[in-house]
């Protein structure tokens, strides 16, 4: 008698979930990919060009779409996984709308939320017209137009690092890892689009952790004349000329500094996603002091939840870039397949 085909549920259809679904399907495993949004893709749907090489984000989206176009994969959209529980060896996922899905294992790939910039009131997001987030800027890049709210071309643009990260005041002590290099990437894009403009990055530490990141940082100085100033911006206001005025200490000169800007870009950080947190809470999955999912082991078990049959993939465990998300997702698949084989 032929053994019943294994079935895995993937909760969340971002980069991590799509890659996991594709890898599992390739191995002959039946997959149900559950995505909360209209379409799979997650945050990648919003990005224009990707660091480090500034390739079009569409190239990676295309790869992932192809990855999940497989007969073994059933994609369910506009649906949230609310809770995971066990019934003997079986895993039962409760979905929004009151339905349930049964499987042999489940991979949590619920990703991250962008930090809500309204929470840093002193920067005036939602109050001043020309304060935007890094995600808003990606949208402008997609439309190929970087302009102020009144349609005019900005001549000085400032990028503010660590907005909602490394900041006790908003209960996020962690570093979001990707925003430094995103700022470098975006600064270059702005300089290319607006060659007359002046661009400043206000940083506390430049965290160029990945391959070619430091080179990109260097290129931004050497080729694109991006300026870097070390200091945390304490507040922004608007003057009578409707320009933003920021206060910062130029810590390398050791003196407070004021600067007018036409456009201010807040490099918002990553937080545990709300639907991910709800799922964790309802299912009794552990979360760490940074509120992301806590893996069973920090070194050799980052895909393991500690609960039989439940595995983790991607940024639901910690901030990471696409490269690391895909690697993490593949190792989640390896753990899952090993689990299924051993039962």
């Amino acid at each position: 008698m032929k053994e019943k085909r294994k079935h895995v549920i993937v909760a969340g259809g971002g980069v991590a979930g799509m890659e996991a679904a594709g890898s599992l399907a390739e191995m002959g495993i039946r997959v149900t990919l559950v995505e909360k949004g209209e379409d799979p893709g997650g945050h990648l749907l919003q990005w224009h060009a990707l660091f480090p090489g500034r390739r079009p984000a569409e190239e990676v989206r295309k790869y992932l779409r192809k990855r999940i176009a497989h007969e073994n994969i059933n994609v369910i959209t506009r649906t949230t996984v609310e809770k995971v529980r066990h019934h003997g060896h079986e895993i039962i996922a409760d979905l929004s709308g009151g339905t349930e899905e049964r499987a042999d294992a489940l991979i949590v790939a619920t990703g991250f939320d962008l930090f809500d910039a309204h929470r840093k009131e002193e920067y005036g997001y939602g109050i001043y017209d020309n304060v935007i987030t890094s995600a808003d800027l990606e949208e402008m890049f997609n439309g190929k137009r970087v302009v102020r709210a009144d349609g005019s071309v900005p001549s000085r643009i400032g990028f503010i690092h660590c907005v909602g990260s490394r900041d006790e005041k908003v209960n996020n002590n962690h570093c979001s890892k990707v925003c430094c290099v995103t700022a470098v990437k975006q600064a270059i894009e702005v300089r290319k689009l607006l060659p007359e403009s002046e661009v400043f990055c206000f940083y506390m530490d430049m965290r160029m952790f990945g391959p070619y990141y430091e080179e990109l940082y260097r290129e931004s100085q050497e080729v694109h004349n991006v300026n870097y100033m070390r200091g945390k911006v304490s507040e922004a206001s608007v003057n009578i000329n409707n320009r933003l005025v920021i206060k910062v200490e130029d810590t390398l000169a050791g003196r407070p500094l004021k600067m007018e800007l036409d456009l201010m870009v807040l490099m918002v950080g990553m937080e545990m996603s709300k639907p991910g947190a709800r799922l964790a809470e309802a299912s009794g999955l552990n979360t760490g002091i940074n509120r992301f999912l806590e893996s069973a082991d920090q070194h050799y078990g980052t895909n393991r939840s500690g609960v039989a049959g439940i595995f983790y993939a991607g940024t639901c465990t910690a901030p990471m870039n696409i490269t690391d998300t895909i690697s993490h997702s593949r190792s989640a698949v390896e753990e899952t397949v090993r689990y299924l084989g051993g039962r």
Partner: protein, 119 residues
Amino acid sequence: MSEQKANRFGFAINRSRAINYDTSDRKVREYVTMREPSFRLCFACGGCTATCTAGQHASFNLRRMNTYIRRGEIDSLREEVARCMLCGKCLLVCPRGVNTRNVVATTAEALRKLDRNEL
């Protein structure tokens, strides 16, 4: 004047510019750390200095002051500490939750004790 002769740069060097960490006085640091442990959390972002009213016109810089305490640069510290108005604006900014105002107050106290040989 053999010392002058040896100085081929044409100016006299009076005191070393280097911070000599091994001879520096770290009693103030120890005192401040004990009384206000949050002092250790400063990561030198300058947020406090950016927002400080006292530092806009005079040479007062809380971030730099924190460094002076850590390095045991007592003379530099004396000049700084008197200028703080203890208004507490910096407290609202600090991303590391340093009790900045109390760091200044405790440092002033430490310096007074140092002068009275009580440290």
